[in-house]
Amino acid sequence: MIRRKILFTALSLGVSAFAVGALPLASPAMADVGEIRDLTLLARDQGANPQAFQAAQLIAQVWNQLGLKVTVRGMPRLQQSELVWYNRDKWDMTMWQMVGRPERSDPDELLFNLFHSSTTESGYNFIGYKSEEFDKLAEAQRVETDKDKRSDLIKQAQAVLARDQPNMFLVYPKRTFAFDNAIFADDSVVEQSGLGIKNIWSYLGAKPLGDQKDMILNSTDPLNAINPLYISGATDSWVTELIWDRLLRISPEGLAEPWAAESFEWLDQTTIDVVLREGMKWHDGMPVTVEDVVFSFEVPNVGDEVPMYKPFVKNIESIEIIDDRTVRFKLNNPSAAFLTSSLAKVNLVPKHIWQPVIDDLANRPENAESYQEDLPIGSGPFKFVRWKQQEEVVLARNPEHFSPPQIDRWIIRIVSNSEATISMLRSGEINFLADYNGDPEILKDVAAKDGDISIVSSTDIGFQYATVNQRRPPFDDVAMRRALSLAIDRDLMVEAAWNGSAEVANSPVSTALAFWRDDDALAISANLEEAKALLKDAGYRLIDGRLHYPEGVEETLVGP
């Protein structure tokens, strides 16, 4: 009651301060010595990710109980990444997410990139976490080719993270998808482990039962680019992986298996021969050749025109054409994840189209990411038809492909809100719910009423988390991070923010990848009192309800 009074007083004071025209968004001048500054928890705006936004509100409330002063601020994706990604020492705390992608079925990509110290400057380690112990483990697992030994190393690395809490992992969401089972045969839609039914195997396998032979999916965000040499928005990658083939593809079981390659063979730990399938054609009718394959893997390494794919080909020492269907990759170091994160990741692009483009770009400041083909040409199971910016992307079946889809057209509709999305699913305006971040209960009700809607939810490889900037005090202090993490009630998050449709997380390796994690070692449960005790032991002082640094520690911030 008293607390409420104080809040009200503060609120009315704030309001009256507004009234005289002051804009007290932050009032650092008032802070007394040693008090931890007011903090802003950045998040995607509520519309874009309502669950994470709710989670942020809950987290702010509980962190305030520790004596911090945290306010949540929602913003559009680009604005958030502008701050977090490109101004690495100017923010304090943020909500973030990693989305599941087929190539993330191997834990390496997320584990290494997110926390290895080499990626602090401009890569994924935007939080500035540095640990020699972790670096060694992350490097060791990369070159370990024995699966069990590698799993051990990965588990040890996760244990280090659980101890240091550089990120406060919250949940592995269960992605909920749905489709109209009166239009597509129920058993023809394929679930891929860690990704759900929204995957290429469903698009290829889905069998139309009646006259409707178009699969119509929804996306919340508009597309940014349709470009095989650019990893842009999440929705963009749904499209690129259908237009362009890769040598290998991640199977529904999560393994890298031959696709455009007929077969592959390891000659030794650093040499692999890949045989290209016969008779493949680009959508413009030209044949797919081994020269195209070599070009696709070499182009990220030549100059700076394809920066985003560089990490995936960096380990390649040379590519050699053996005959008109075989290429030989020689690697610098042995790599356990090479099949998944290189051969199943890099898009095969036609040299006759891209070579002139790349040559032209070499004389200009832009790189290949800035280039948008009017009519994208790949060799994949779907051909590009049209892209209307705020409306839809239409792809059509490629009957000449070695694995042609059953559906005639594959269409994405851009629908920015969940209310309309649900309604469209009911009315048949869409028939495959591919992007839903609303309340799963509502979807279940709708499905029960409709009768023809199948819902499939599966735990994601991706995860949602809150994180703090370890370049700035007090977050460089492990005790502080542990306390913050301990204060978060993840079970409550699952219930209150994700409506029960998620699993508690404490590691970058999802429960969907059970082989790579030790569930017991990663168990975590909230304890606010213990969190407070942890802070007290570390010397933090609570004065008038506000947390202060330990005696003698002064707040110094890098950057302006």
Binding site: D304, E366, Q390, S416, S423, M424, S427, E429
Partner: protein
Amino acid sequence: MLRVMNRLLHMVFVLWAVATIMFFMFRLMTGNPLAAYIDTNFTIEQQQALMAQFGLDKPLWKQYIIYMGNLLQGELGQSFFYRKPVGEVLMNAFPNTIVLTMGALVIAYLFGIPVGAYLAWKRGTWVEGVGIPTVLATRAAPEFWLGMILLAVFAFNLGWFPSGGANTAGAEFDSELARFLSLDFLWHLILPALSLSLYLQGLPLLLMRSNMLEVMQEEFVTMARMKGLSEWAIIMRHAARNALLPVVTTFALSIGLSVGGNVVVETVFSWPGLGRLLVGAVASSDFPLAQGAFLLITLVLVTMNFVADLLYHTLDPRVSHGSRN
């Protein structure tokens, strides 16, 4: 004729001023206007080369001259987000917005004018007592809220209308014109146009009413009354015609105002128009696109002000007399 030239010059002046203000807003308030375009994958040299390419290394006044020169040639630059010329992106959205606006205005005026005349005729009765507050309430209701309710009732619950967009997914048309004339498009247009017109009908209605009241005081109406014409005949033949003129001129004005005000309704109905484009561009820091969308909306607004002004002076001889004096 001199008047028209004068007004035209005036319009050009306003356009120039708004474009100038926009230039300085986008240059001075954004820090680095290329921030959303340059990512850290670019090397320092590339970043500098890009700055040079966009002319950002030049002094502000030079940048301004380049910008104005480009504008005069209709060159709006490249959208950061879509990686296409801004003009092309805008022209995909613009027709949708114009059709929505015109559709809504036509409904609003077809409803508002007769009902306004009717309310004038019924002045002092209970009809007026109920009618006026109702009309005012529709003008006071947030458009997106009305839209949400219409959407919930007619699309989500009854399923009579689609839940958003301008066309059925994957629909094929021979031409843009064929698309606008298709039943499919009309079906998608109805709900958003209706929510807009719910709001827009208030203006012609109230204007018509007050003009009618005014005209009915004038001598020729009194004369007609004395000649023994029926009240209905007076209203239709004399009063309404005279009261209508000023209402018509506001139609043009409303087009200009509405194109900018459509933003929220376009968002509710996922309508692929200019307003949603602007919102999206602003949210993704796509400054060239945001600037282009803003200028296009301004162009419509200023042009329609000009048209309304001309109409007003052409239709109402009293005014031109006034200005000549």
